[in-house]
């Protein structure tokens, strides 16, 4: 997994609540057996019309945001299905950080497994950052170590779980970490066989 330390980039504003994972990546693109290549279909139905032409009014089709690496959006982002294709498609497009008032649990979790930083901030902060993102000249500076978002002279701090931060900063693979607990897992399995033989 790629490390996340500091990100200096354009942020695309998507002022809409409850953006679900079907909207992020529709079902017809879930039939892949790979992780890569989903970026071109990120937000497919919002981004393209029925004929496959780009919709001019969609933010990621506008010149200033075509290469945005950050998304600022409404509450409950990523609700719905557990499909990890949602963070895969964001990452493949180039989005490495999503800022929102709140996230659905499974999506939030999936982000960390892919080196994407989901940042929760207050609704007032989202409002300010949304305005900042709407100014096409602005660049956002996200510093994970410092837990801060800076735009111009304005700085907003954010909270993040210490372990998740550690893994993102170092690009750590979860499975390798867990296997360091091998003896604890074995002990648990022995106890379980004794107490719950039916399993």
């Amino acid at each position: 997994m790629q490390k996340f330390t500091v990100l200096k980039a354009k942020a695309a504003p998507m002022p809409r609540a409850n953006i679900d994972t079907d909207l992020i990546i529709p079902k017809q693109f879930l039939k892949t057996i790979q992780r890569s290549g989903l970026g071109k279909n990120l937000f497919n139905d919002l981004r393209y019309d029925e004929q496959g032409n780009e919709r001019d009014d969609f933010v990621l089709n506008q010149e200033a945001y075509r290469h945005a690496n950050i998304l600022v959006t409404g509450e409950n982002f990523g609700c719905g299905s557990s499909r990890e294709h949602a963070p895969w498609s964001l990452l493949d497009f180039g989005i490495q950080c999503v800022i929102a008032e709140s996230f659905a649990d499974i999506f939030y979790n999936n982000c960390f497994k892919n080196g994407i930083l989901p940042i929760k901030v207050s609704s007032e902060d989202v409002e300010q950052l949304m305005q900042a993102a709407e100014n096409k000249e602005n660049e956002f500076n996200i510093d994970l170590e410092q837990q801060s978002i800076t735009v111009g002279n304005h700085q907003i701090d954010f909270e993040i779980d210490a372990f998740r931060k550690h893994c993102l900063l170092n690009g750590l693979d979860d499975i390798g970490l867990t296997l360091q607990n091998e003896s604890a897992i074995q002990d648990f399995e022995q106890k379980r066989t004794k107490q719950k033989a039916w399993l």
Binding site: D20, E75, I106, D174, T178, I185, F188
Partner: protein, 463 residues
């Protein structure tokens, strides 16, 4: 005094392998269900790092999400090439890693959340995961069950554990009993209408009160299935006599002495009296009316006796436009094109019976295409034994093979742009049942009534 615990606290503690200083726990996973869509990349990850499936016997595979529901599907009818490749990949992976798979010609094949309990693979007090958000369904039996992403699927395959932070406790207490003609689906839709789609975020919801006690285990599955639509990764209902009775004799259920020991343990699986919850909602069952969604989020729900809401904000405006509705229009005047009875929410035998009872001896409206997709081969077999297939077909329904089908439209069963569907599934998101498709969620009996009338209908007028 020992600390009073919720059911969630108890199951969590029972599965604690290790705790880290950072506050995340390593939790043991008893049961892992896998399907074709969210696993190819996980197995690929195992292969690339030279890892094995730690406990193949704790893992069960089934093909459900993108399969054709045509009766000649085993001959390739209505099978798309990319779906075929995904199915074939699961076959190869299960074979290579020693995991049992219910393939297309196996009568045990069906929707992952239907077959888990049906086989007794899901059991009370177990931890159950699957790369599918509706894994919450299994909470109906007092199992801690939740959906995971593909990276976590790989993690469970390799380690039989998950690394996570404990969620908070929430209780939805429903007092009183449901009126006649009001079902588990109406109850959970009404709850989501009350708490909103983010109401349970960060929590496990325990459903308690008379209404859940009264429900059959299948009704409880419908409720827990949609806990995720209320934002909660898992829903829970304490197991009781009905639960134990349900599992007796199922293939993976304990037998003999083990059965008695298991029941003794299962009886301890309830929230201690006086245990506290981080969040609590109390709802009265007595006044619930059959529910139907009007918008593009499951929280956009109303009693069938109401009208399409007036535009109060941008989100409502967008939803009404997408759905092609008129503010103030009575819901019962909304014409439909298709009816879908199926999905992990409502495709079990009781759902089939409830819908069949409404359509028996009647005809589907001329303007409507209606389909029934049983949740598993065994549900289908049981329904056919009871003659339900004939009732549906005489009424003009299509009687299909098991799978997820038009709930998420990953196979050829889908809506065309602008088409409107009365659906027993769980999500009415934009494009969920096909690009531009319009979904109204409701119970199987309500969907059956809509099929007859050709528009949204109050099932109580058909009972």
């Amino acid at each position: 005094m020992t600390k009073l615990k919720t059911l969630y606290d108890k199951i969590w503690e029972d599965h604690l392998v290790a705790q880290s200083d950072a506050g995340d726990d390593l939790i043991y996973i008893d049961r892992h269900l896998i399907h074709e869509v969210t696993t190819p990349q996980a197995f690929e990850g195992l292969r690339m790092s030279g890892r094995k499936v730690r406990n193949p016997k704790a893992t069960l595979g089934v093909i459900d999400h993108n399969v054709s529901t045509h009766k000649n599907r085993h001959q390739g009818v209505e099978v798309e090439e990319d779906s075929r490749l995904q199915v074939e990949t699961l076959r190869q992976n299960c074979d290579e890693f020693g995991v049992e798979l219910y393939d297309i010609l196996d009568v045990r094949q069906g929707i992952v959340h239907v077959i888990g309990p049906e086989q007794g693979f899901t059991l009370p007090g177990t931890t159950v995961v699957c790369g599918d958000s509706h894994t919450s369904t299994h909470g109906a039996f007092g199992a801690l069950a939740f959906g995971i992403g593909t990276s976590e699927v790989e993690h469970v395959l390799a380690t039989q554990t998950l690394r996570m932070k404990k969620l908070k406790n929430m209780r939805v207490l429903v007092e009183g009993s449901l009126p006649l003609g009001v079902t588990a689906k109406d109850l959970i839709l009404a709850i989501i209408g009350e708490i909103g789609t983010a109401g349970g975020t960060g929590h496990v919801i325990e459903f308690s009160g008379q209404a859940f006690h009264d429900l059959s285990v299948e009704g409880r599955m419908t409720v827990c299935n949609m806990a995720i639509e209320g934002g909660a990764r898992a829903g829970l209902i304490a197991p009781d006599e009905k639960t134990f009775e349900y599992f007796k004799g199922r293939p993976f259920a304990p037998k003999g002495d083990d059965w008695d020991k298991a029941v003794e343990y299962w009886e301890t699986l309830k929230t201690d009296e006086g245990a506290s919850f981080d969040k609590e909602v109390v709802i009265s069952a007595n006044n619930i009316v059959p529910q139907v969604t009007w918008g593009t989020s499951p929280e956009d729900v109303l009693p069938i006796t109401e009208q399409v809401p007036e535009v109060s904000n941008d989100a409502v405006k967008r939803a009404i436009e997408y759905m092609g509705l008129i503010p103030g229009q009575p819901l019962q005047d909304v014409k439909i094109d298709k009816v879908f009875i199926g999905s992990c929410t409502n495709s079990r035998i009781e759902d089939m019976r409830a819908a069949a009872e409404i359509v028996k001896g009647k005809k589907v409206a001329d303007n409507v295409y209606a389909m029934v997709v049983p949740g598993s081969g065994l549900v289908k077999e049981q329904a056919e034994e009871e003659g339900l297939d004939k009732i549906f077909m005489h009424a003009g329904f299509d009687w299909r093979e098991p799978g997820c089908s038009m709930c998420l439209a990953m196979n050829v069963d889908k809506l065309q742009p602008g088409e409107r569907c009365a659906s027993t599934s769980n999500r009415n998101f934009e494009g969920r049942q096909g690009r531009g498709g319009r979904t109204h969620l409701m119970s199987p009996a309500m969907a059956a009534a809509a099929a007859l009338k050709g528009s949204l209908a109050d099932v109580r007028e058909y009972q």
